[in-house]
Protein backbone atom coordinates (compact mmCIF):
# COMPACT_ATOMS: atom_id res chain seq x y z
CA UNK A 1 0.00 0.00 0.00
CA UNK A 2 1.25 3.42 -0.79
CA UNK A 3 -0.47 6.45 0.59
CA UNK A 4 -3.91 4.88 0.69
CA UNK A 5 -7.19 6.63 0.85
CA UNK A 6 -7.43 9.90 -0.94
CA UNK A 7 -10.70 11.63 -1.50
CA UNK A 8 -12.32 9.67 -4.29
CA UNK A 9 -14.37 10.83 -7.20
CA UNK A 10 -17.97 9.70 -7.38
CA UNK A 11 -18.32 6.10 -8.44
CA UNK A 12 -21.11 3.63 -8.94
CA UNK A 13 -21.27 3.16 -5.21
CA UNK A 14 -22.14 6.72 -4.42
CA UNK A 15 -25.50 8.15 -3.58
CA UNK A 16 -27.06 10.42 -6.18
CA UNK A 17 -28.21 13.95 -5.68
CA UNK A 18 -31.80 12.94 -6.16
CA UNK A 19 -32.27 15.32 -9.09
CA UNK A 20 -34.25 12.81 -11.03
CA UNK A 21 -31.98 10.95 -13.45
CA UNK A 22 -29.75 8.27 -12.09
CA UNK A 23 -26.97 6.00 -13.14
CA UNK A 24 -26.58 5.54 -16.85
CA UNK A 25 -27.33 1.86 -16.80
CA UNK A 26 -30.80 0.70 -15.86
CA UNK A 27 -31.38 0.65 -12.18
CA UNK A 28 -32.74 -2.50 -10.62
CA UNK A 29 -33.28 -4.21 -7.33
CA UNK A 30 -31.72 -2.23 -4.50
CA UNK A 31 -32.31 -5.16 -2.21
CA UNK A 32 -29.74 -5.54 0.51
CA UNK A 33 -27.35 -2.65 1.08
CA UNK A 34 -29.00 0.73 1.04
CA UNK A 35 -26.15 2.88 -0.24
CA UNK A 36 -25.21 1.50 -3.64
CA UNK A 37 -28.05 1.20 -6.15
CA UNK A 38 -26.28 -1.00 -8.65
CA UNK A 39 -27.19 -2.05 -12.12
CA UNK A 40 -27.47 -5.66 -13.11
CA UNK A 41 -24.20 -5.55 -14.96
CA UNK A 42 -22.59 -3.54 -12.22
CA UNK A 43 -23.68 -6.10 -9.71
CA UNK A 44 -22.24 -8.78 -11.97
CA UNK A 45 -18.95 -6.91 -12.24
CA UNK A 46 -18.82 -6.52 -8.50
CA UNK A 47 -19.36 -10.22 -8.03
CA UNK A 48 -16.74 -11.11 -10.60
CA UNK A 49 -14.27 -8.88 -8.83
CA UNK A 50 -15.00 -10.32 -5.40
CA UNK A 51 -14.78 -13.82 -6.81
CA UNK A 52 -11.44 -13.14 -8.45
CA UNK A 53 -10.21 -11.58 -5.25
CA UNK A 54 -11.16 -14.59 -3.16
CA UNK A 55 -9.71 -16.91 -5.78
CA UNK A 56 -6.34 -15.20 -5.83
CA UNK A 57 -6.31 -14.84 -2.08
CA UNK A 58 -6.97 -18.54 -1.66
CA UNK A 59 -3.98 -19.28 -3.81
CA UNK A 60 -1.35 -17.10 -2.21
CA UNK A 61 -2.73 -14.89 0.50
CA UNK A 62 -2.49 -11.14 0.80
CA UNK A 63 0.47 -10.72 -1.52
CA UNK A 64 -1.09 -12.81 -4.26
CA UNK A 65 -4.03 -10.47 -4.56
CA UNK A 66 -2.55 -8.08 -7.07
CA UNK A 67 -4.83 -5.40 -8.35
CA UNK A 68 -3.82 -5.87 -11.99
CA UNK A 69 -4.47 -9.57 -11.74
CA UNK A 70 -7.80 -9.08 -10.04
CA UNK A 71 -8.76 -6.68 -12.81
CA UNK A 72 -7.74 -9.09 -15.50
CA UNK A 73 -9.30 -12.13 -13.85
CA UNK A 74 -12.59 -10.33 -13.53
CA UNK A 75 -12.43 -8.82 -17.03
CA UNK A 76 -12.56 -5.30 -15.79
CA UNK A 77 -10.28 -2.35 -16.40
CA UNK A 78 -7.94 -1.39 -13.61
CA UNK A 79 -9.62 1.98 -13.30
CA UNK A 80 -12.98 0.32 -12.92
CA UNK A 81 -11.68 -1.97 -10.23
CA UNK A 82 -10.55 1.09 -8.34
CA UNK A 83 -13.91 2.70 -8.88
CA UNK A 84 -15.58 -0.21 -7.15
CA UNK A 85 -12.98 -0.70 -4.44
CA UNK A 86 -10.84 2.33 -3.75
CA UNK A 87 -7.90 0.29 -2.51
CA UNK A 88 -6.63 -3.23 -2.12
CA UNK A 89 -7.57 -3.17 1.52
CA UNK A 90 -11.09 -2.05 0.69
CA UNK A 91 -11.33 -4.93 -1.73
CA UNK A 92 -10.15 -7.51 0.76
CA UNK A 93 -12.33 -6.19 3.53
CA UNK A 94 -15.29 -6.39 1.18
CA UNK A 95 -14.24 -9.94 0.37
CA UNK A 96 -14.23 -10.72 4.05
CA UNK A 97 -17.66 -9.19 4.45
CA UNK A 98 -18.87 -11.44 1.68
CA UNK A 99 -17.45 -14.57 3.26
CA UNK A 100 -18.74 -13.62 6.67
CA UNK A 101 -22.24 -13.31 5.31
CA UNK A 102 -22.02 -16.84 3.96
CA UNK A 103 -20.80 -18.06 7.29
CA UNK A 104 -23.52 -16.24 9.15
CA UNK A 105 -26.29 -17.86 7.16
CA UNK A 106 -24.58 -21.23 7.40
CA UNK A 107 -24.32 -20.88 11.15
CA UNK A 108 -27.94 -19.87 11.49
CA UNK A 109 -28.94 -23.13 9.87
CA UNK A 110 -27.05 -25.26 12.37
CA UNK A 111 -26.80 -23.25 15.55
CA UNK A 112 -24.39 -24.42 18.23
CA UNK A 113 -25.86 -26.70 20.87
CA UNK A 114 -23.83 -26.01 23.99
CA UNK A 115 -25.30 -25.84 27.44
CA UNK A 116 -24.32 -22.31 28.29
CA UNK A 117 -23.57 -19.19 26.31
CA UNK A 118 -19.82 -19.41 26.68
CA UNK A 119 -19.74 -22.90 25.26
CA UNK A 120 -21.94 -21.97 22.35
CA UNK A 121 -19.82 -18.97 21.47
CA UNK A 122 -16.56 -20.84 21.62
CA UNK A 123 -18.08 -23.68 19.61
CA UNK A 124 -19.21 -21.17 17.01
CA UNK A 125 -15.82 -19.53 16.80
CA UNK A 126 -14.06 -22.84 16.59
CA UNK A 127 -16.35 -23.82 13.77
CA UNK A 128 -15.44 -20.62 11.97
CA UNK A 129 -11.81 -21.30 12.73
CA UNK A 130 -12.02 -24.73 11.15
CA UNK A 131 -13.56 -23.16 8.09
CA UNK A 132 -10.68 -20.73 7.88
CA UNK A 133 -8.19 -23.56 8.25
CA UNK A 134 -9.49 -24.97 5.01
CA UNK A 135 -8.41 -21.80 3.21
CA UNK A 136 -5.53 -20.46 5.24
CA UNK A 137 -4.31 -18.19 2.47
CA UNK A 138 -7.70 -16.60 2.07
CA UNK A 139 -7.86 -16.15 5.81
CA UNK A 140 -4.46 -14.54 5.73
CA UNK A 141 -5.48 -12.04 3.09
CA UNK A 142 -8.70 -11.10 4.78
CA UNK A 143 -7.46 -10.83 8.34
CA UNK A 144 -4.30 -8.98 7.43
CA UNK A 145 -6.33 -6.50 5.40
CA UNK A 146 -8.76 -6.09 8.25
CA UNK A 147 -6.16 -5.26 10.85
CA UNK A 148 -4.07 -3.21 8.48
CA UNK A 149 -6.95 -1.03 7.41
CA UNK A 150 -6.59 2.62 8.24
CA UNK A 151 -9.24 5.25 8.89
CA UNK A 152 -10.32 5.44 5.27
CA UNK A 153 -11.67 1.92 5.51
CA UNK A 154 -13.38 2.42 8.84
CA UNK A 155 -16.94 2.15 7.57
CA UNK A 156 -16.26 -1.14 5.84
CA UNK A 157 -14.31 -2.55 8.74
CA UNK A 158 -17.10 -1.50 11.00
CA UNK A 159 -19.56 -3.44 8.91
CA UNK A 160 -17.42 -6.52 9.26
CA UNK A 161 -17.19 -5.91 12.96
CA UNK A 162 -20.95 -5.60 13.29
CA UNK A 163 -21.38 -8.83 11.39
CA UNK A 164 -18.97 -10.60 13.71
CA UNK A 165 -20.71 -9.16 16.73
CA UNK A 166 -24.02 -10.34 15.38
CA UNK A 167 -22.66 -13.84 14.96
CA UNK A 168 -21.40 -13.91 18.53
CA UNK A 169 -24.58 -12.46 19.97
CA UNK A 170 -26.54 -15.01 17.98
CA UNK A 171 -24.48 -17.77 19.50
CA UNK A 172 -25.05 -16.40 22.97
CA UNK A 173 -28.77 -16.71 22.45
CA UNK A 174 -29.68 -13.88 24.77
CA UNK A 175 -33.10 -13.50 26.27
CA UNK A 176 -32.86 -9.74 26.57
CA UNK A 177 -30.85 -6.90 25.12
CA UNK A 178 -27.16 -7.32 25.91
CA UNK A 179 -25.87 -5.27 28.80
CA UNK A 180 -22.93 -2.89 28.36
CA UNK A 181 -20.72 -5.37 30.16
CA UNK A 182 -21.78 -8.08 27.79
CA UNK A 183 -21.07 -5.85 24.84
CA UNK A 184 -17.62 -5.18 26.18
CA UNK A 185 -17.07 -8.89 26.63
CA UNK A 186 -18.14 -9.45 23.06
CA UNK A 187 -15.73 -6.81 21.87
CA UNK A 188 -12.95 -8.45 23.83
CA UNK A 189 -13.83 -11.77 22.30
CA UNK A 190 -13.67 -10.20 18.89
CA UNK A 191 -10.31 -8.66 19.66
CA UNK A 192 -9.01 -12.01 20.80
CA UNK A 193 -10.46 -13.70 17.76
CA UNK A 194 -8.73 -11.41 15.30
CA UNK A 195 -5.44 -11.27 17.11
CA UNK A 196 -5.33 -14.98 17.78
CA UNK A 197 -5.96 -15.59 14.10
CA UNK A 198 -3.04 -13.34 13.27
CA UNK A 199 -0.69 -15.18 15.55
CA UNK A 200 -1.83 -18.47 14.10
CA UNK A 201 -1.49 -17.23 10.51
CA UNK A 202 2.00 -16.00 11.12
CA UNK A 203 2.97 -19.30 12.65
CA UNK A 204 3.54 -18.00 16.15
CA UNK A 205 0.71 -19.94 17.76
CA UNK A 206 -0.57 -23.44 17.23
CA UNK A 207 -4.13 -24.36 16.48
CA UNK A 208 -4.36 -25.82 19.96
CA UNK A 209 -3.26 -22.57 21.48
CA UNK A 210 -5.84 -20.61 19.54
CA UNK A 211 -8.48 -23.02 20.78
CA UNK A 212 -7.39 -22.60 24.37
CA UNK A 213 -7.34 -18.84 24.12
CA UNK A 214 -10.78 -18.72 22.58
CA UNK A 215 -12.11 -20.89 25.33
CA UNK A 216 -10.38 -18.76 27.90
CA UNK A 217 -11.81 -15.53 26.63
CA UNK A 218 -15.26 -16.99 26.33
CA UNK A 219 -15.34 -17.42 30.07
CA UNK A 220 -15.88 -13.69 30.18
CA UNK A 221 -19.38 -14.32 28.96
CA UNK A 222 -20.32 -16.21 32.08
CA UNK A 223 -18.61 -13.59 34.13
CA UNK A 224 -20.58 -10.73 32.65
CA UNK A 225 -23.90 -12.45 32.28
CA UNK A 226 -26.57 -10.98 34.56
CA UNK A 227 -26.80 -13.19 37.62
CA UNK A 228 -23.13 -14.11 37.67
CA UNK A 229 -20.96 -13.01 40.53
CA UNK A 230 -20.48 -9.28 39.93
CA UNK A 231 -17.02 -7.80 40.13
CA UNK A 232 -14.06 -9.83 41.26
CA UNK A 233 -14.56 -13.29 42.69
CA UNK A 234 -12.65 -12.24 45.74
CA UNK A 235 -14.89 -9.31 46.58
Amino acid sequence: MLCSARARLPGPLDRHHGTGHMTAEVELKDSGAASPPLTERQEARRRRILHASAQLASKGGFDAVQMREVAESSSVALGTLYRYFPSKVHLLVATMQDQLQHMHTTLRKRPPAGDDAAERVSETLMRAFRALQREPHLADAMVRALTFADRSVSPEVDTVSRLTTAIILDAMGLDAEPTPQQLSAVRVIEHTWHSALITWLSGRASIAQVKIDIETVCKLIDLTSPGAAPGHPGT
Copy 2:
Protein backbone atom coordinates in the same frame (compact mmCIF):
# COMPACT_ATOMS: atom_id res chain seq x y z
CA MET B 1 4.66 -3.75 1.02
CA LEU B 2 5.52 -5.69 -2.05
CA CYS B 3 6.52 -9.29 -1.89
CA SER B 4 8.24 -9.07 1.46
CA ALA B 5 10.70 -11.46 2.89
CA ARG B 6 12.92 -13.16 0.42
CA ALA B 7 15.85 -15.17 1.52
CA ARG B 8 18.38 -12.56 2.48
CA LEU B 9 22.08 -12.48 1.98
CA PRO B 10 24.23 -12.48 5.10
CA GLY B 11 24.25 -9.13 6.86
CA PRO B 12 25.82 -7.67 9.94
CA LEU B 13 23.14 -9.32 12.03
CA ASP B 14 24.01 -12.83 11.03
CA ARG B 15 25.89 -15.37 12.99
CA HIS B 16 29.29 -16.31 11.67
CA HIS B 17 30.50 -19.74 10.75
CA GLY B 18 33.03 -19.66 13.49
CA THR B 19 35.93 -20.08 11.07
CA GLY B 20 38.09 -17.62 12.92
CA HIS B 21 37.91 -14.18 11.34
CA MET B 22 34.82 -12.12 11.93
CA THR B 23 33.23 -8.96 10.77
CA ALA B 24 35.56 -6.60 9.02
CA GLU B 25 35.15 -3.78 11.52
CA VAL B 26 36.49 -4.22 15.02
CA GLU B 27 34.26 -6.28 17.17
CA LEU B 28 33.25 -4.92 20.53
CA LYS B 29 30.85 -5.43 23.39
CA ASP B 30 28.28 -8.02 22.51
CA SER B 31 26.35 -7.05 25.62
CA GLY B 32 22.63 -7.45 25.27
CA ALA B 33 21.32 -9.46 22.36
CA ALA B 34 23.20 -12.65 21.73
CA SER B 35 22.79 -13.01 17.97
CA PRO B 36 24.27 -9.88 16.43
CA PRO B 37 27.84 -9.06 17.41
CA LEU B 38 27.91 -5.49 16.19
CA THR B 39 30.73 -3.06 15.78
CA GLU B 40 30.72 0.29 17.51
CA ARG B 41 29.97 2.05 14.27
CA GLN B 42 27.44 -0.55 13.30
CA GLU B 43 25.71 -0.12 16.61
CA ALA B 44 25.74 3.63 16.01
CA ARG B 45 24.23 3.17 12.55
CA ARG B 46 21.59 0.92 13.96
CA ARG B 47 20.68 3.51 16.55
CA ARG B 48 20.58 6.29 14.00
CA ILE B 49 18.25 4.23 11.86
CA LEU B 50 15.92 3.39 14.72
CA HIS B 51 15.90 7.00 15.80
CA ALA B 52 15.07 8.24 12.34
CA SER B 53 12.36 5.63 12.07
CA ALA B 54 10.72 6.68 15.32
CA GLN B 55 11.08 10.32 14.36
CA LEU B 56 9.36 9.90 11.02
CA ALA B 57 6.74 7.62 12.51
CA SER B 58 5.92 10.20 15.16
CA LYS B 59 5.33 12.72 12.46
CA GLY B 60 3.03 10.85 10.14
CA GLY B 61 2.54 7.25 11.17
CA PHE B 62 3.12 4.15 9.10
CA ASP B 63 2.94 5.84 5.72
CA ALA B 64 5.39 8.55 6.72
CA VAL B 65 8.12 6.03 7.41
CA GLN B 66 9.57 5.85 3.92
CA MET B 67 12.64 3.76 3.52
CA ARG B 68 14.44 6.31 1.37
CA GLU B 69 13.77 8.99 3.96
CA VAL B 70 14.85 6.80 6.82
CA ALA B 71 18.04 6.07 4.94
CA GLU B 72 18.71 9.73 4.29
CA SER B 73 17.81 10.86 7.81
CA SER B 74 20.15 8.35 9.30
CA SER B 75 22.93 9.02 6.78
CA VAL B 76 23.02 5.50 5.55
CA ALA B 77 22.71 4.08 2.06
CA LEU B 78 19.42 2.48 1.17
CA GLY B 79 21.11 -0.85 0.67
CA THR B 80 22.63 -0.64 4.12
CA LEU B 81 19.29 0.13 5.67
CA TYR B 82 17.97 -3.03 4.07
CA ARG B 83 20.94 -4.95 5.34
CA TYR B 84 20.07 -3.97 8.87
CA PHE B 85 16.33 -4.30 8.52
CA PRO B 86 15.21 -6.51 5.69
CA SER B 87 11.88 -4.73 5.30
CA LYS B 88 9.89 -1.78 6.47
CA VAL B 89 7.93 -4.02 8.77
CA HIS B 90 11.11 -5.41 10.27
CA LEU B 91 12.26 -1.89 10.90
CA LEU B 92 9.07 -0.81 12.59
CA VAL B 93 8.84 -3.92 14.69
CA ALA B 94 12.39 -3.31 15.83
CA THR B 95 11.39 0.25 16.62
CA MET B 96 8.56 -1.06 18.72
CA GLN B 97 10.90 -3.41 20.51
CA ASP B 98 13.10 -0.45 21.32
CA GLN B 99 10.23 1.61 22.68
CA LEU B 100 8.89 -1.31 24.66
CA GLN B 101 12.21 -1.74 26.37
CA HIS B 102 12.13 1.87 27.48
CA MET B 103 8.64 1.41 28.78
CA HIS B 104 9.57 -1.75 30.60
CA THR B 105 12.37 -0.11 32.52
CA THR B 106 10.20 2.92 33.22
CA LEU B 107 7.47 0.72 34.56
CA ARG B 108 9.85 -1.21 36.74
CA LYS B 109 10.78 2.01 38.48
CA ARG B 110 7.23 2.90 39.41
CA PRO B 111 5.31 -0.36 39.61
CA PRO B 112 1.51 -0.23 39.74
CA ALA B 113 0.01 -0.18 43.21
CA GLY B 114 -3.36 -1.87 42.83
CA ASP B 115 -4.82 -4.24 45.36
CA ASP B 116 -5.17 -7.26 43.17
CA ALA B 117 -3.43 -8.52 40.07
CA ALA B 118 -6.20 -7.55 37.68
CA GLU B 119 -6.13 -3.96 38.82
CA ARG B 120 -2.38 -3.74 38.57
CA VAL B 121 -2.35 -5.13 35.06
CA SER B 122 -5.06 -2.85 33.80
CA GLU B 123 -3.39 0.10 35.47
CA THR B 124 -0.15 -0.82 33.76
CA LEU B 125 -1.77 -1.16 30.38
CA MET B 126 -3.63 2.09 30.79
CA ARG B 127 -0.38 3.77 31.66
CA ALA B 128 1.15 2.40 28.49
CA PHE B 129 -1.94 3.48 26.62
CA ARG B 130 -1.56 7.05 27.86
CA ALA B 131 2.05 7.01 26.73
CA LEU B 132 0.93 5.92 23.30
CA GLN B 133 -1.68 8.64 23.19
CA ARG B 134 1.10 11.17 23.41
CA GLU B 135 2.52 9.84 20.14
CA PRO B 136 -0.46 8.45 18.29
CA HIS B 137 1.32 8.42 14.95
CA LEU B 138 4.20 6.46 16.33
CA ALA B 139 1.74 4.07 17.91
CA ASP B 140 0.01 3.72 14.57
CA ALA B 141 3.20 2.84 12.76
CA MET B 142 4.33 0.32 15.33
CA VAL B 143 1.06 -1.44 15.93
CA ARG B 144 0.12 -1.62 12.28
CA ALA B 145 3.51 -3.08 11.47
CA LEU B 146 3.17 -5.56 14.28
CA THR B 147 -0.18 -6.94 13.18
CA PHE B 148 0.67 -6.77 9.50
CA ALA B 149 3.88 -8.70 9.91
CA ASP B 150 4.00 -11.99 8.08
CA ARG B 151 5.96 -15.14 8.84
CA SER B 152 9.26 -13.64 7.83
CA VAL B 153 9.08 -11.31 10.80
CA SER B 154 7.97 -13.94 13.29
CA PRO B 155 11.13 -13.99 15.37
CA GLU B 156 11.08 -10.23 15.84
CA VAL B 157 7.36 -10.13 16.54
CA ASP B 158 7.87 -12.92 19.01
CA THR B 159 10.45 -10.89 20.84
CA VAL B 160 8.01 -8.03 21.13
CA SER B 161 5.39 -10.44 22.33
CA ARG B 162 7.69 -11.84 24.98
CA LEU B 163 8.47 -8.35 26.15
CA THR B 164 4.80 -7.52 26.46
CA THR B 165 4.16 -10.75 28.29
CA ALA B 166 6.98 -9.93 30.67
CA ILE B 167 5.47 -6.54 31.39
CA ILE B 168 2.09 -8.05 32.15
CA LEU B 169 3.52 -10.81 34.29
CA ASP B 170 5.55 -8.22 36.15
CA ALA B 171 2.40 -6.26 36.85
CA MET B 172 0.66 -9.36 38.10
CA GLY B 173 3.36 -9.80 40.68
CA LEU B 174 3.05 -13.55 40.87
CA ASP B 175 4.31 -15.56 43.77
CA ALA B 176 4.90 -18.68 41.74
CA GLU B 177 5.39 -19.69 38.15
CA PRO B 178 2.30 -18.80 36.10
CA THR B 179 -0.06 -21.66 35.43
CA PRO B 180 -1.04 -22.58 31.87
CA GLN B 181 -4.41 -20.94 32.44
CA GLN B 182 -2.75 -17.78 33.55
CA LEU B 183 -0.52 -17.82 30.52
CA SER B 184 -3.54 -18.18 28.31
CA ALA B 185 -5.20 -15.29 30.10
CA VAL B 186 -2.09 -13.21 29.53
CA ARG B 187 -2.14 -14.07 25.85
CA VAL B 188 -5.77 -13.08 25.65
CA ILE B 189 -4.98 -9.81 27.34
CA GLU B 190 -2.24 -9.22 24.84
CA HIS B 191 -4.59 -9.99 21.97
CA THR B 192 -7.10 -7.56 23.35
CA TRP B 193 -4.45 -4.96 23.91
CA HIS B 194 -3.22 -5.06 20.32
CA SER B 195 -6.60 -5.27 18.73
CA ALA B 196 -8.13 -2.59 20.93
CA LEU B 197 -5.25 -0.31 20.02
CA ILE B 198 -5.98 -0.93 16.37
CA THR B 199 -9.63 -0.05 16.70
CA TRP B 200 -8.69 3.08 18.61
CA LEU B 201 -6.05 4.08 16.07
CA SER B 202 -8.44 3.69 13.19
CA GLY B 203 -11.02 5.79 14.98
CA ARG B 204 -13.55 3.01 15.49
CA ALA B 205 -13.35 2.98 19.26
CA SER B 206 -13.04 5.75 21.81
CA ILE B 207 -10.42 5.97 24.49
CA ALA B 208 -13.12 5.22 27.03
CA GLN B 209 -14.09 2.08 25.20
CA VAL B 210 -10.52 0.86 25.11
CA LYS B 211 -10.31 1.46 28.84
CA ILE B 212 -13.46 -0.51 29.48
CA ASP B 213 -12.33 -3.39 27.31
CA ILE B 214 -8.98 -3.56 29.00
CA GLU B 215 -10.63 -3.62 32.37
CA THR B 216 -13.03 -6.26 31.16
CA VAL B 217 -10.36 -8.57 29.88
CA CYS B 218 -8.27 -8.13 32.99
CA LYS B 219 -10.99 -9.80 34.98
CA LEU B 220 -9.75 -13.00 33.42
CA ILE B 221 -6.77 -12.75 35.69
CA ASP B 222 -8.88 -13.15 38.80
CA LEU B 223 -10.78 -15.89 37.10
CA THR B 224 -7.69 -17.91 36.29
CA SER B 225 -5.70 -17.22 39.42
CA PRO B 226 -5.24 -20.31 41.55
CA GLY B 227 -7.84 -20.25 44.28
CA ALA B 228 -10.52 -18.60 42.15
CA ALA B 229 -13.68 -20.47 41.28
CA PRO B 230 -12.54 -23.03 38.69
CA GLY B 231 -14.56 -23.47 35.52
CA HIS B 232 -17.87 -21.75 34.94
CA PRO B 233 -19.61 -20.04 37.81
CA GLY B 234 -22.69 -22.09 37.08
CA THR B 235 -21.01 -25.48 37.34
